[in-house]
Symmetry: C2
Subunit: 448 residues, 2 copies
Amino acid sequence: MYNYNLTGKNKYYTLYSLIREDILRGKIKGGERLPSKRVFAAELGVSVVTVQLAYDQLLAEGYIRSKERSGFFAESVAEGLNKDRSAPVKPECEPAEEKFKLDLVHGNTPPNMFPFSVWARLIRAVLADCGEHLLERVPCDGDKQLKRAISAYLYRSRGIDVDPRYVVVGAGAEHLYGVIVQLLGRDKIYAVENPGYGKISFTYALNGARCLPVNVTEQGIDISVLEQSQAAIAHVSPSHQFPTGVVMPVSARSRLISWAKNSSGYIVEDDYDSEFRLTGKPLQCMCGLCPERVIYMNTFSKSLAPSMRMGYMVLPPELYERFLKIFSSSANFVPLFEQKALARMLDGGYFERHLNRLRNYYRAVHAALLKRLAALPERCEVADTGSGLHLIAKFPDAKSDGQIKLLAAARGIRLKCLSDYLLAPMAGVDGCAVINYSALTPNALSEI
Amino acid sequence: MYNYNLTGKNKYYTLYSLIREDILRGKIKGGERLPSKRVFAAELGVSVVTVQLAYDQLLAEGYIRSKERSGFFAESVAEGLNKDRSAPVKPECEPAEEKFKLDLVHGNTPPNMFPFSVWARLIRAVLADCGEHLLERVPCDGDKQLKRAISAYLYRSRGIDVDPRYVVVGAGAEHLYGVIVQLLGRDKIYAVENPGYGKISFTYALNGARCLPVNVTEQGIDISVLEQSQAAIAHVSPSHQFPTGVVMPVSARSRLISWAKNSSGYIVEDDYDSEFRLTGKPLQCMCGLCPERVIYMNTFSKSLAPSMRMGYMVLPPELYERFLKIFSSSANFVPLFEQKALARMLDGGYFERHLNRLRNYYRAVHAALLKRLAALPERCEVADTGSGLHLIAKFPDAKSDGQIKLLAAARGIRLKCLSDYLLAPMAGVDGCAVINYSALTPNALSEI
């Protein structure tokens, strides 16, 4: 019956995706009993742990339920939330072991762009100036000096006036997603964008919360679906949605804020790449519009270096008080050293100078990329908002997304399509390549 | 009815403790409905969030359950697990704002003991040698060099032969407790020692797992209770239990291992202060006896400095594979910088030299403390195993634990009693002061 073919690295994720797809498409009916973990593992030729992990994820996301001593059963998936059932959900497989010349899926800022000598100088200065104070315990919400520096930076760069008190420093976005679940509760439903950045729903689920994928329209997350749902939290990236690139217009932002106010819900505003708006100014943050209902979040992993596990969020005052109540006796996860050095980098203007350099660099990459796409033999339409480090290239004549990826692979290019980022089925996403150009260099483009 | 008096800083914890005590003592009957959050908050003169947090904690620990649209109800607490119901559970209140001359509750290694110049030199050397490699993403389980250094250190200091592959580096103990819940599941029951270090059960509960407090006998955690329970994980500190100071004898260790083998359970061996055995050699780790059922865990926050959020665990091979499956696409939380510097500190022998200095220092503190206790006008019996940085001083003539703390406060000393660390009621713990001497100096003792 379950004729699944599990290959590649991430077997449990593939299994999870295949079962989910069959539940969503009605191939596995609501109430149907799934095979026991041991039987299933033997049948598929994988370990019991693989099946266990897939079931755990399905349980966390509400696709199946467990009954004591009788096993796992498929849920009847609520009608109406995602109307289109025909489009299959493609499992987000890890690539085979081939080496690609060009990776347009992952990608980090080129390391030579990082102002290493400045950073090293700041580290040495912190070491000399702070001395043994560096050994002191850091308060749970982070070093005061860094909190102030982030607040001042947000004012300069995003025009929002944030009391430094409400800034909470954490060890990167994944850590902060977990803190949000601990703050708001794992009994709540977390609406996430579909298609979206899989790490968000994965991390919420890993922390025991239930996620509801809500389709992204041309105006961002579909607020009418949100309004009819039981979701208490909406995790959105209004300044530049990943992977669609949609920028949420002001009308949708105010409707989303009304939803949060009326339902006493919270909006997590994930501003993960707003630094990389290449043309014009970014739209005003939602957090500036309604500080009592919006948790603003950003990270330095993308703009500085992937090894910098530092991010922050700005909490509404009420949530900040709750944070203190829960974590007052805990120390912050980020070493004081890194916090002090980053504070100096922000206060000294080094970070903004670094961003300016990066933006200039990416403007050149972006222009070369557009030129290269225009010169392709295939018909190609580029959807580009001049923001962030990715864009969508639509190939209307492609037979399937698989064909797009195979053609790219034949040229030594690794890429994914919009359909690879689906958390639930959705129509109209076929033929769209997601081009993440953060690790691209102008030279690399001329070689292919 | 609920005539609770909530004062001090940590109101929600006090409220949680008071309700739990009343449930355990039968003052609140199983099935009894608790007041709604709003009504209760108004009655007690606290915020709704305070009541919410207290209820959340009680829910997570299984003392109450919630029924949709009808509210919160007390559970009938299982008989027999903790036989003694008469001893009240004292809420672990935060101290009032008074200033104490001497803190025997919290306490960090004196900062001047930290080899700061060595550390600063290593940091500068790492900066110069590794350069831009420091910007690279750290694999989810930590830097290879640090993993190897920890494995070699464990062999030298604890005589255990650990494959470096199975070492996982994390941002301190609290972070690793959370990872354990993500690895083993929040549907499991986690047995914790009673009395015990409150942060352990607190962090498990915060991560959505249920904790079962199991009394500590003279042989460590009561394994007969464990054997009759539904617990799947036992979190223990066999080398030096906090706060009782009990060292688990070998017979109990092997019985505990049999329990884990027979029930397919796991033991978390929290070796948090084994470095501070002042006389003789520590007992062999449980992890060396049964690597497939024991998760060994330790931290550097205690031995180096409280700002060093670095800990590690050694996973059984099966769990390590599961860890990789879950976290393969995540980066480690600890900056590469700190990991490289610590690896050099371990490999260069600096860490062990530092520990030797610390142990010599604490031997002097320990001797001065015993002398001071012997000179007290009150009758005092010291239970001391020559291990760790705390001991138990019993005052048989004290009228109550409150009297002990008041008398200490009158001399400018802040301390707690065994009963303050109870997670569930237990007889025979009265009159015992827990003296944490990690922040003590020989001079401070002569002043009081």
